[in-house]
Amino acid sequence: MNALKRHRYRNAVAILAGILFTSFVVLQVNSPKIENPPVTSEFHGPEEVTRILKRSCYDCHSNETNLRWYDKVAPFSYKVAADVEEARKRFNFSEWDSIPKADQEGKLWYIVNMIDAGRMPLPEYAATHPNAKVTPAELTILKNYVTSISQKHYELGDTARIVEQKQVAQVPTSINGIQYFDDYKNWKVISSTGRPDNGTSRIIYGNDIAVKALEENKILPWPDGAVIVKVVWTSQAPDADGNVKPGNFNNIQIMVRDAKKFASTEGWGFARFSGLDLKPYGKTVSFATSCINCHQLAKGTGFVFDIPTKPAR
């Protein structure tokens, strides 16, 4: 009896091993191959900067992907291929000029902030490719670099010369249905920011629900109905005393909390209206994906960057 059981058990193990082995072979054979398309417009920066980027980012964010043998073994190869495809879609150092010139600098700041937050290189990639990690000294080099390229943003224009108001015939409406409104001017200012990275000055307003959520520390998640409005001006050059004042009105950004309606973007609806004619940003509703991708960096504060904070105990 015992001998029969053992025999059956051995058979089962053999069959299972056979299935596993066959699956493994099939997975290997069908394993995705990563092509390296030609480098069309490479990113150019100082040598010490490109050296860091090449080592830490290029395996996924370029057409010079250099896979290790273990990256090519299924099932890992599937994950690696998907990551490379997604990474190249986000931005590609080998096709750098596919990013509009005006957006390239912002992208570099985004890259540095992703590294600063420990989100890039992807932790699981860095764990298996320790060489890709960016050291604190290298991060400082990258921070100094982006700071150095963003020194010339100031506007000469004086607010005094740009007071004429353009009339907007209809209420500007974002493609996702969020409408511009004026009432935020009666809301409380929850914070104010100066952005040396892109040369703007901002005031951030919150409606009563948003302010109450801050007061009661109930922002994880923010309650439905919370609305945050950010008014953005292009900064003027510092005056003799070093004061940086707002110049031209640049854009207005609105975040509307509705966990169900905006479930695909972590419960936040985004809208941006640019210029005094308040032109809505985004041709398709998918524009908000790029908003939330960046706002992931503010996950700890419910995906909102500009709220007053203190270190949590």
Binding site: P196, F305, T309
Partner: protein, 155 residues
Amino acid sequence: MKSLIALIFATIALDACHDSRKLAPNPETIFDDHGLHVITSFHNDRTRTIAVLYGNDDALANAGKERDAHTPRVGTPGEVFKLVTWDLKQNPLWFGSNINGNVQSVETVTVSAGESGPAIDYAKDDSSQKKDENAVLSNAERISFIFAQRASVFP
């Protein structure tokens, strides 16, 4: 096995890094404007401060008017200004952005009708501990500074 251990260590290390980004709201820094309007804002890297100038209807209307840059404004009876100044700190969530920290001071300028022209009252509520001797300006200079601010352009 080695990579598993590496992964565990990486996760622990990452958690440690993220501690500095664990933040709680700090609503004490939000200024209660009691119905005043935002006139303008500015920040200063030298003094590490960021400020918002508020005003009542009269103050906002006058700060938005065209004016001769060479004639200093003396104030119109009825105007109330409040200049709120906060510490400037790096936004913990975004390298490249500065955000307000704690409130340093609130300066209030009130203009009323006096016997011979506008009477101007200046008061400063200073909650900051640090006093920069060199930066102390006379009240008259602060009043002129506040009067000189132009309204920001809103849509």
